[in-house]
């Protein structure tokens, strides 16, 4: 009881963005552990990591035992992967709660933990509805792009094979960019949902109005967040790819863990910055003013 009382005051001491970043990192780490667990069990059950070198053998140059893991442990890994995918979808859904929590933190720093949690849980169905509609829109975009890719490919038949091979990639890139833009709209709708407890239709209307009023701010708003994440992930990959995990030392594991978690934190910090922008953008629309 006393701990729940102390929590809001501690949260209040931290800057809202830092608290939101930490919250999302903890949430993603817990979800990550959950998602990774079935595959980890499959790897352990394969017998290949039961030796004196534990799983260092999987990282030996040449990857002889990594391939052996795929061969011997394929049925286990396959079953593990199915459970992992299921847990990934569930984690994605449950991840809406900490996201709403983070939005609320950025919006009103003074509230208690319990109040925020209750609000996040209360908003969950509406957040889920907005996410579903957006997901369907993204699927439609990807389907359209794949149709365009097929048409482009048949039009390029007999031409330079490089264009033939690159055209689906190009269309996939365009599709992903469009999906990212739809994702930006979703974040605006989520911001509106959390800020003013609108219904899904009203929240999406706010997002679309925002796009009409400030198109560049909406379309390019999350670009720094993506670039920041790319910087973090690539830097971590550069650092970690030079580590030798095939030895018995635990130091490379620790370095890899720290580098990877810093990269994840960095990416989340950039996302929180975008969420804050989304709150400001959605709050400034005319529709939002009329709904206020």
């Amino acid at each position: 009881m006393s701990s729940t009382r102390r929590l809001p005051s501690r949260f209040a001491e931290l800057p809202a963005a830092a608290t939101a970043t930490m919250l999302l990192w903890i949430s993603r780490t817990c979800s990550g552990l959950l998602v990774a667990y079935p595959l980890l069990v499959a790897i352990k059950a394969s017998g290949l990591v039961s030796g004196p070198g534990a799983d260092s053998v999987l990282f030996e140059p040449g990857s002889q035992l990594l391939l052996e893991l795929l061969r011997v442990g394929l049925p286990l890994l396959s079953a593990g992967l199915h459970v992992t995918l299921l847990l990934w979808v569930l984690s994605g859904l449950l991840g809406l709660v900490p996201l709403a929590f983070a939005f609320d933190l950025l919006l009103a720093p003074g509230r208690s933990f319990g109040e925020r949690l209750w609000k996040a849980v209360r908003l969950f169905p509406r957040l889920l509805g907005a996410s579903t509609i957006t997901l369907l829109a993204q699927l439609a975009v990807l389907l359209g792009c794949s149709l365009c890719a097929a048409i482009l490919k048949s039009a390029l038949q007999g031409r330079d094979p490089r264009w033939l091979d690159l055209s689906p990639l190009l269309m996939t890139g365009i599709g992903l960019l469009l999906c990212a833009w739809v994702g930006n709209l979703l974040d605006l709708a989520r911001a509106a949902l959390v800020e003013r407890a609108l219904d899904v239709r009203q929240a999406l209307l706010v997002a679309l109005t925002c796009l009409r009023e400030q198109p560049w701010a909406v379309l390019l708003g999350s670009y720094p967040s993506v670039a920041g994440a790319a910087l973090g992930y690539l830097s971590a990959a550069w650092l970690v790819s030079g580590l030798d995990l095939s030895g018995g030392s635990t130091r490379p594991i620790a370095i890899a863990f720290i580098a990877h978690q810093l990269a994840v934190l960095f990416a989340i910090a950039w996302r929180v910055r975008w969420l804050k922008t989304a709150l400001e953008l959605s709050g400034n629309t005319q529709v939002a003013s009329s709904l206020r």
């Binding site: 534990a54 799983d55 701010a217 720094p224 910087l231 550069w238």
Partner: protein, 668 residues
């Protein structure tokens, strides 16, 4: 508009992040590029007597061929000079007309239930060869073709293996000259032969004599979808007539060329070879380079300069490497053909002095050595097929299997453990890839059997290519790389320009490797031999002085059990088992709780061995074959035990991070 200002500010910061991210991205790629230039530390082979440079021709061909690039037809005239080098008089000749394999859906090649051959494609436009006339030069002009059998033996639907009776027997040591007129209709590319648009790859295209064995029998066989070829050495003199705008690559050396009325005639000569293939296309680009005394040319599609450069780079390393190990490449030219994407079925094949590679234009991107793999593999066939012209139908492992070992050895000498792929902190070796493919098929079938006897081409692929390489790889790791290299060197020198059989290979191996290693090899290749080492239980017991009643010479003595106290000495035992029929010596590493280790050696005889130890510390772990020398070990997951059980801190870290990134990219 404060939010707009924030967006602008963020855009600037974001761009800076992206620019910064380029640095590590480039650095990320760098190790893979750098590692591609691994130090070359090839094993130096022995220095035997100078190898043979050519061979007495048995079946020589003079061919004039005119290609109609619109109809994809070839009009040919052929003269065969054939010497009966056998000990018996010949009453008949056997001709291989392998283009007829693509004549209709009932041929042996096309009617196979899986619908396709080695290349995986079925014919869409059919192809065939019509022999118009066959006469003996200096004879009475009688058309011998009229008296041919009309189909392959016992196969009324196949016309790829035909017998022609001779009017008079050809005595041993005598020579016969034959003249033929023939017309080819090329199929749309199938099994490395045919056309795709204006690209033509012309192989197995002329009426060709089957190989005459020393006992006077012809080694003839219909074109089976899983099989390759077998022929006598001879000299080839081939004049090709193609449109002037087309570039040509062919077996042998171009010795003459002339042009007239929009067409060109190109004459090629190749001595001491056993086949002739050629290609022509009006869009070929070319590059040439002199490597180890050989003029190497690459013919490649437009915009694929990177692939061509990679192919030349592979040959720059592999040609001198193979020269050193398996005897010098004896021909003045080597032509590499990289077919266009539309004709990828022409890729990955070997002919004398001409090889085909393949792969899309982006093959050299991303850390994979796929171009190197196919180039080095096909180049290796210039020895294991070209110079050692074994019967590929009867013993496919002699060319594909030995060549797969040679390819893996060369690639790993050049690129180390990343010989297949290196990137993202991972490396993948040819040996690891061959091992996993080989282990998946294990002892399903014998490796050393005829191509047509394999249940499927997948089985042939796994056993002939990968398992042979793994058998030799195991022998090299267990008995010494130098010994296996020397054995292969001896084999390639002894049977250069010859037609070695499986028993020839086994004899050389026995002489060079000794009885123990050669027995393992025979068992693994001929008798479906397998092996799996496994360890089951670790037991530890404290050492205490014996208690009980003892009748000693001095009288009965009763010793009481010692009171319980911390043990200072332990008796440990572990049992190692060997499943399967291959008896390979193996090392066993014992690890103790105090961190000390012991190495024990088991000669592999018998099916089990108990390893005992008495010492101050408990036995904590066992690792059978810690250096992973026995690549043939069917299952490596049972090779060790540890008191700590399964631990995966590295995998946990990687999986957690992977899941976090995935949730970040595709999560809310």
């Amino acid at each position: 508009m404060p939010s707009m200002r924030r967006v602008h500010q963020d855009l600037l910061i974001g761009s800076a992040c992206l620019l910064l991210s380029l640095f590590p991205a480039r650095a990320l790629l760098q190790p893979s590029l750098a590692s591609g230039k691994a130090e070359v530390t090839s094993t130096r082979g022995p220095q035997p007597a100078p190898p043979v440079a050519s061979v007495e021709p048995v079946a020589s061909y003079v061919i004039q061929a005119k290609l109609d690039t619109e109809q994809h037809r070839i009009f040919g005239h052929e003269t065969i000079r054939f010497a009966n080098h056998s000990a018996a008089p010949l009453n008949e000749l056997w001709f291989h007309l392998y283009l007829n394999a693509f004549k209709n859906d009932k041929t042996l090649f096309l009617r196979s239930p899986f619908g396709a051959g080695r290349s995986g494609n079925k014919a869409h436009q059919y192809g065939y060869v019509d022999v118009k006339k066959l006469t003996v030069v200096g004879g009475d002009g009688k058309d011998l073709w009229l008296e041919r059998d009309h189909h392959s033996p016992d196969d009324p639907h196949d016309e790829t293996d035909l017998r022609v009776p001779l009017p008079t027997p050809l005595e041993p040591g005598r020579t016969l000259e034959l003249e033929l007129e023939f017309e080819d209709q090329l199929p749309e590319i199938v099994e490395r032969t045919g056309y795709a648009g204006s690209f033509h790859f012309v192989a197995q295209w002329f009426p060709k004599l089957a190989r005459l064995e020393p006992d006077g029998r012809f080694a003839h066989f219909a074109f089976h979808p899983q099989s390759e070829f077998y022929a006598d050495f001879g000299d080839y003199d081939v004049t090709l007539d193609v449109p002037q705008a087309f570039r040509v690559g062919a077996t042998g050396q171009r010795v003459e060329s002339s042009a007239e009325k929009g067409r060109q005639k190109l004459r090629y000569r190749a001595a001491s070879v056993h086949d002739f293939a050629w290609t022509t296309w009006d869009r070929f680009e070319t590059r040439s380079e002199r490597i180890a005394g050989t003029e190497v040319s690459v013919l490649y599609p437009p915009h694929e300069e990177r692939n061509a450069a990679a192919e030349l780079a592979s040959v720059r390393f592999a040609l001198p490497h193979f020269n050193r190990l398996y005897g010098p490449y004896p021909y003045p030219t080597l032509t590499i053909v990289h077919p266009p994407d539309a004709a990828d079925n022409a890729g990955g094949m070997e002919y004398p002095t001409l090889i085909t590679t393949g792969g899309p234009w982006y093959s050299t991107w991303g850390g994979g050595h796929f171009i190197d793999i196919v180039t080095v593999h096909e180049l290796g066939h210039q020895w294991f097929y070209g110079l050692l012209a074994s019967n590929e139908h009867a013993w496919p492992f002699l060319d594909e299997g030995l060549n797969s070992y040679a390819e893996a050895e060369a690639l790993e000498t050049q690129y180390g453990p990343g010989s297949v792929f290196r990137g993202f902190g991972l490396s993948l070796s040819s040996t690891a890839l061959n091992r996993v493919i080989s282990a998946a098929r294990g002892g399903d079938e014998a490796v050393a059997q005829g191509a047509a006897e394999f249940a499927t081409f997948r089985s042939l692929g796994a056993l002939v290519y990968s398992r042979t390489a793994i058998v030799l790889g195991t022998l090299a790791r267990v008995y010494g790389t130098q010994r296996v290299t020397q054995a292969l060197t001896a084999y390639t020198r002894q049977f250069r320009f010859a037609h070695p059989s499986a028993s020839d290979f086994a004899s050389v191996m026995q002489a060079e490797l000794g009885p123990e290693a050669s027995q393992v090899m025979r068992n693994a290749l001929f008798d479906r031999g397998t092996v799996d080492y496994l360890v089951r239980d670790i037991s530890n017991a404290p050492v205490t002085s014996a208690a009980g009643v003892f009748d000693l010479p001095t009288g009965r003595e009763q010793k009481k059990p010692e009171p319980p106290r911390p043990a200072t000495s332990f008796s440990s035992r572990v049992v190692v088992y060997r499943h399967g029929t291959l008896e390979l010596p193996v090392d066993v590493e014992l690890g103790f709780e105090d961190g000390s280790k012991q190495r024990r050696h088991w000669d592999g005889r018998g099916f089990t061995v108990s390893l005992d130890n008495v010492g101050p510390s408990k036995l904590a772990s066992v690792n059978v074959d810690p250096e992973q020398k026995i690549l043939l070990d069917d299952d490596r997951s049972n090779n060790w035990l540890s008191s700590e059980g399964a631990r995966a801190p590295r995998a946990t870290e990687r999986l957690l991070y992977g899941a976090q990134v995935l949730l970040g990219v595709l999560g809310p």
